[in-house]
């Protein structure tokens, strides 16, 4: 109890969640092709989702949901956060993790975010992502 009380005074959790209709990603890819991919997904994400000349659409959709979930956890207000600043990586063991770059990394630092975790899933045409971020509560008070 003592540990929890002390810990909760110093840290807070931020949560972001997002759902996406997988079909909308298929439509975007068909309509815009490489332009869509290059504006939204980093090279590693495109490579992870490429399948014998085609794409794992559910994989792309869940990565987009992850980016939006992270943006919600960052709570940037109207600050721009390019989708390319948020990257989903799959480890050799199969787990997914988030890497943040550029503006997203600056926002996370300013918010005192010290760590974050990602969970993605998909079922029956819907992909979803949940991000939980841990932040110092004494951050972002003077900026």
């Amino acid at each position: 109890v003592w540990w929890f009380a002390t810990y909760s005074e110093a840290m807070a959790f931020r949560i972001g969640i997002d759902l996406i209709d997988v079909e909308t990603v298929a439509d975007a890819l068909e309509a815009q092709g490489e332009r869509y991919l290059r504006r939204v997904y980093r090279e590693s994400e495109i490579a992870d989702c490429r399948r014998d000349g085609d794409f794992d659409i559910k994989g792309l959709a869940s990565r987009f949901a992850a980016k939006e979930a992270m943006i919600k956890a960052l709570a940037p207000g109207d600050d721009p956060v390019p989708w390319l600043d948020i990257e989903v990586r799959r480890s050799p063991a199969g787990a997914v993790e988030l890497l943040i770059h550029g503006r997203a990394a600056t926002l996370a630092r300013d918010a005192g975010i010290t760590s974050f975790a990602l969970c993605i899933t998909h079922e029956q045409g819907i992909a979803a992502a949940l991000v939980v971020a841990e932040a110092r509560t004494d951050a972002d008070t003077d900026t």
Binding site: D18, I20, D21, T24, V25, D27, A28, A31, Q32, R35, Y36, R39, V40, F64, E68, D78, D79, P80, V81, P82, W83, R103
Partner: protein
């Protein structure tokens, strides 16, 4: 300009309502446009107006209405002309 914007929204915004029933200042997100659909609208606008939205304009407020999109496009076109 506003009609071309409306056409991009009509074709790519996957709106649950007819965009023609919305005013220029109506909030497109509140009317049902998703964040992913806004990506497609953005790419369609880039095609239609031969511009590219820079990272600094990837804001929710830029794509939240026909008027706000028009303002952003005017700024970009002025930058190109200047």
């Amino acid at each position: 300009m506003n009609e071309k914007i409306r056409q991009a929204i009509r074709d790519h915004g996957r709106m649950p309502v007819d965009v023609d029933t919305l005013s220029d200042d109506a909030d497109l997100y509140q009317a049902g446009m998703t964040s992913h659909a806004s990506v497609n609208v953005m790419l369609a606008l880039e095609d239609a107006f031969d511009i590219e939205f820079p990272d600094r304009m990837l804001q929710r407020s830029v794509f939240e209405s026909v008027s706000s999109i028009a303002a952003a496009l005017n700024e970009l076109e002025a930058g190109v002309a200047g």
